[in-house]
Structures are given as C-alpha cells and as structure tokens.
Symmetry: none
Subunit: 217 residues, 4 copies
C-alpha cells in the first residue's frame, strides 16, 4: 500500500546517496493524511470524519494514522493549523512591497485576504463552523496583528487620515467587518450579487468607516 516499489535507478555512480529517509517519508504520510482529512471534511462534513474514513481516503492504514496523530481531533487541529499557515503566508507575501497610502494598503490587504480565502473556500468554511469548538487560536489572531500594525502606521503621523480615535477599536471593527465581507464574498457568495463587485464594496466599507466624519468632525 505504501510500499511503492519505486524501481531503483539503473546502476549509476550514485555520487551522494543522501538517503533522505525518515523525515521525507513521514512528511509525505502526514501530508497525505491531512489532505485526506480535508477531503473527507469538505465532502461529508465533520460528523462523518471518522479516523477510518480518513485513513482509507489517504490510502494509509489506520495504524499509521495513529502513529502521527494521537486522536481524531488532533487531525482537525493539525489541518486547521496547516490551512492557517498557508493562508497567512499568502497574505504576507501579497502585501510585500513599498507602502503607499492607506487606501491602497487597505485595498491590497483585503485583496490579499480574499485570495487567501480562495485558496480552499470549502475547507475554510467547514473549519470555521464545524470545527469551531476545537480550542481557539484561529488564524484570525495573527492576521489581526497584521491589520493592527497597518493601521498603527497610518493612523498617526503626517497622512493621518484615520478618524477613529481608539486604534484597538478600529482594528477590531475593521477586522470583523472585513472578515465577514470576505467570507460572504468567497465562502458563501450571495445568489444575486456579483462576487467581484464585493471586493470593491468591502474596501469602500472599510475606508468609509475609517475616514468617516472627517467632514462631520
């Protein structure tokens, strides 16, 4: 099953065998198991996520599954961790580069977050709902940190266009607002609304909130 009888390369000099054993093998197995977990989760939901189903889908014996994961929940936890890491990495990558004004940065951030959510929308949805009871430490925490830093940089100083007095509040409100709209757009898009249009609206909403009342103030 895992044997995988890869035909030994023909008798070449084999300069540096560098056997790449332990680690590489385990990695592959662990990844296969997590992939299977994701697939079962997306296809059948959390309730149907049995360890046997995962092992079967991964083409791995149930024993191997337990070699790497102590129990069923550890599976989901690890998957969520991996998924979060991937999303976070994507966001960070897409936000790199010179830093123009707030509006552009907000737009760029929201776009990045949307991209990240498009990575595995179905999986993200299941993890966000059915796996919600498994400890905390969502990706939210880290991503919110990014947002906070961003606002901090633009809330003060020369181009301080932000009108919200308390930065914590602003971060929180913007974070939730944007997150909800991104989810809405990517995860369960509304039937009669153009999803692409929603990206712009999200930016609009966030900017409106952040700079509102400048005139009214």
């Amino acid at each position: 099953m895992v044997g995988n009888s890869r035909p030994d390369r023909p008798a070449s000099p084999r300069p540096a065998p560098r056997k790449r054993p332990r680690q590489a093998r385990s990695r592959a197995l662990v990844d296969a198991i997590l992939d299977a977990t994701a697939r079962v989760l997306v296809r059948d939901g959390y309730a149907a996520l049995t360890t046997n189903a995962v092992a079967t889908m991964a083409g791995v014996s149930i024993g191997s599954l337990y070699q790497y994961f102590p129990n069923r929940d550890a599976l989901v936890l690890a998957l969520r961790e991996r998924h979060s890491r991937q999303m976070h990495a994507l966001i960070v990558a897409q936000m790199a580069g010179e830093e123009p004004g707030l509006a552009i940065m907000i737009a760029r951030t929201i776009r990045a977050a949307m991209q990240a959510h498009r990575l595995e929308p179905a999986l993200h949805k299941v993890l966000a709902t059915e796996a919600a009871h498994l400890e905390t430490h969502h990706e939210k925490d880290e991503t919110e940190g990014l947002l906070h830093a961003l606002l901090e940089r633009y809330a003060l100083g020369a181009h301080a266009v932000v009108t919200v007095p308390d930065l914590r509040v602003a971060t929180f409100v913007v974070g939730r607002m944007a997150h909800a709209l991104i989810h809405a757009a990517v995860i369960d898009p509304p039937p009669g609304v153009d999803p692409d249009l929603l990206e712009g609206e999200t930016v609009r909403a966030v900017m409106a909130y952040l700079t509102a009342g400048r005139d009214a103030a």
Copy 2:
C-alpha cells in the same frame, strides 16, 4: 404494540375532564426537551449532544423524547427554530413605532438586533457555528428581509441619502457587516474594548458605508 391491553375506563360521562391536557402536556414536554437541548449544547457542545443526555437533563424518558422528535437532529433544528423565532419577535417588537430618518432607523435596528443576540448569546454562538450545517433557513434570511425593506424605503425617494447604487448589494453588505459586529460585540467581545462602545461603532460603520462618497461622488 401488542400489549398495552389496559382497558380504557368505560365510556363514563367524564364530568369535568379539566381540558387542555393533551396539548398542554405535550407543549410542556417539548419545551422541557428543547430547554435541555439548549443547556447541553451550551455546556458540552454539539459533539456531546446525545439524546440520552438531553432526556436526562429534561427529566424525561428517552422514549418520550422520541415521541416528539424523530431523531437527534430534529432536536437541534427545532431548537434553532424556536430560538430564531424568539429573536425575530424581539427585533420586530423593538422596531415598531413611527419611522424617522435612516440614521435613527439603522441605529434602532442595530440596537434591536443586539438585544436579540443578548437573549441567549452562548446558545446563539453554538447554533451559529456547530449547528450551521443542519439544513439552511437561518434566522438571517428573515431578518435580512426586514433590512432590505428598510433600506428600500430610505434609499429612494426624497431623503435618499444612500449612495450605494445596487440595493441588493447594499442590503447584503450592511447585513453581513452589522451581523458580524453584533456577534463580535455580544458573543465574543474583544478583551480590551468596551462592548457598549461597539454598538455606536456599528452604527457608525453602517452609516459610513451607506452614505460614503456623497461628497466624493
């Protein structure tokens, strides 16, 4: 099915049967069961919601539970239904009265929704996440209808302060945005932020979005 040969008392006049037993009894039982479901759900989460646990907590036999609910999920579905009805009723009640300008109506609506979420925050959270996969028809749908009607009334006509062109989009965006912020405020309030302050911020955010760019346009 075969047994149960206890002969019903012979057709006597039955002077004052003290009516309403049937209905009232069932009602009381059903409610007790749903209450128990809510308690177990809040205390232990959806995964630990066993029919026996519910029956025990309700002080009812497991057999009686199945007399009124065909299976486990029906329990949660009915609870969600009941909870939604209660929330919706509260919102409708609080929104009654003459209709002033948009800002006031939005504020009132958001306040009403917040009140509704304060009805059973913990239960609401569990239902919104762990029970999200059980069929659709969330309370959202109905409440969103309310919102749509509201915006419709103010988006057009004389005092058309709303700058968002597509009403569907506006309804959607405002609905998600407000919902997220209300949830955030009531269900998992941020550690360092004053929850009461968030109500105002929610109104601010919604209004900012709806009326943004009036000057920029």
Copy 3:
C-alpha cells in the same frame, strides 16, 4: 531482503577484529531487554507489558527485540527463567557447608530462601501472580527438590526427629508453608508486624510441624 546492496568493505586484512563481538553483543542486548521487561513489569504490571514499551525502555529497536525473542510471552518466560536461576543459585550457595542437625538446616534453608526472595521482591511478586499462567516449571519445582532431599536425609536414620510419617506429604506441607510465610514476610509484609521476627516464626512453625506430637505420640 532484496535491497541491502551495500557492498561490504572489500576483503581487507582486518588487523585485530577484537573477537567475541557476536556472543557478547547478543548477551548484552538480551540482558538489556530482560532488564527492561522486569522494569516495565514491576512498574506497570503484566497487562501493560507491551513489546514496544520494553524495547523503548531497553533502548533497543523493536526489530532487535524480535531478533532475540519470538513473541511477547517469550520475554516473560525468559525473564522468569533468569530470575529463578538467580534465586536458585543463591539458595544453593547459601546452603553449602557442613550439615549439622535438622533444626539448623531448616533455619539455614529458610534464611537462604528469604535472602533469595529479597533479591527482587517486586519482580518476584509480579512473576508469581500475573505471570503464573505462562506454562509451568516454576522455580518451586527445583527448590522443592532441595527441600525433599534435605528432609529425606534427616527424617530417617539415627537422629530421626521428624514425626510426619509420609515424607512426600511432609515435603509438600513444609514447602508450601515456608513459601507462603517467606512470601508474606518479604513480598507483602503485614503492617503491624516486625518482618525480621517472621523469619524466626517461620522456622518455629516448620519445626513445630515436623516434630509435633513426639510427646503426644
């Protein structure tokens, strides 16, 4: 089986192979494994004695364990064998020397047996109870032989102080009696009784039985 094509270094002179590797290595491994078995057995009991636990505790791979022991029970069997040999050797050693009267010999024998039981009391207890079902041939058999020979020598002849008519019966009774008291004294000593005192009592009991009724007869 198929792989393993690592070419053994070409037939070089191999100056001083430092003989005895094979045997000595195996010995060391086997002993390490048996030690680990004993430790796990004492710490966690027979039920928790897993081959993996033993291998880990021995600092040996599970594969190596199976190189030397065909299965789990063989482990315990071998350990019991080793333990019995050690005990028996100690008893034999301590009983050497000239042979005075019966009373002295009995005392010496009991003392020797007590010493032997003090070798590994905890291990002895586990082996005697939880491993009792694994085949027969306990150390008892051999030790009982010693006892029988001893009684035989003193039961008849000039100084025949023994009043028990059937020697087999006497051997049996004395064996069980002494064994029980030794176990009691060494393995689970009674809370309020001085353990050292019990050695004397054991001798007293045995002698009383063997010589009882001399006057009454």
Copy 4:
C-alpha cells in the same frame, strides 16, 4: 434474545400483580453477565476475557453489558466481590454453633475454609493469580478478621493453650500458613499426595505452631 416470551398466565384474577420489574430483571442480567465472566475466565484465562466474549457467553448484547459495568475490569472486580461474599458466607455459616476448645475450633475453621475453596476452585485460582493486580481488598481481609477473633478468644483466659506471645503475629502466621495449605490442597493439589489427608495435616501444622514449645518453654 432477552425477550423471553414467557406466555402470560391464562386470564386469572391476578390479585396482586406486584410486577417485580426493574430490580429482578437487572439482577438476572447482572448475574448472567458475572456467570459468563467466570466461565470465560476459567475456560480461557484473563487474557482472553474480552467484553464481547463475556456478552456473547451471557447471551446478552454488548450494550447491555456496558449498561451495568463501566469497563472490563469492573466485571472482574464485581465477580471477585461476589465470589468472596459467597465464600465468606459459607465459612461463617459453617463455623456457627457452640464453641468447644481451640483444637476443635481450628479444625472446624480450616474445614470451613476448605469447603469454601471447593465452591469454585478453578475460578478462585484465576482470580487469585491473574486478577491479582486489580485493587486489593481480597476476601483475606475479612476472613483474617474471623481468625483473629478466634485466636483472641482462646489465647487468653483459662484454657490459654496458645504459646505464641504476639497475637498479631500468630494471626498472621496462621492465616498465611493455613491459606497456603488450603490452596495447595484444593486449588492445585499435589500429584502424589492424598488431598483429604492434607486437611488433617493443615490442622496439625497450625496446632503445632500455636502450641509449640509449651514443653520446651
């Protein structure tokens, strides 16, 4: 399976139905399960004592087994408890009656204990060895109490024939000695020795110990 379609008695007056339900049923089931446990234990040993095997042998579903016993060990614990109770009851019953001298009482006690061990020798053996690691509180404790009381009554006073100074020690030594010999006689009788003869020898050994040295003192 358990249905047990006992044909309802013909339409008799049925004076007092006294339905005897709950308790009686459970009792029967629990007893059936314990009986099955004993049978499996005796037939196949502790290692083969699986909950499924017990349930099958008892003619009961695995679910029912777990309705009454929280886990496998509880099964054995309860069985040992029951067995001990039975043995103890038998001993107490057989020791009733007027109380003659020490020798007779000792003889009677040992006979009673032997009878008790003959109740279920095979089961007793398995419980004493393979189930030894499951908590303590063996029947020994209670029976030893009986013995202690007995010796107390005869060690002092007019007919104080007992020469052992410390009563605790005497109780302990006699208890262990007798227990070992009874076990030996009933549980694993020696091949070449007449089991019946061993009862007398046990009495002899105990009496010899208790009264030894009267002349020597």
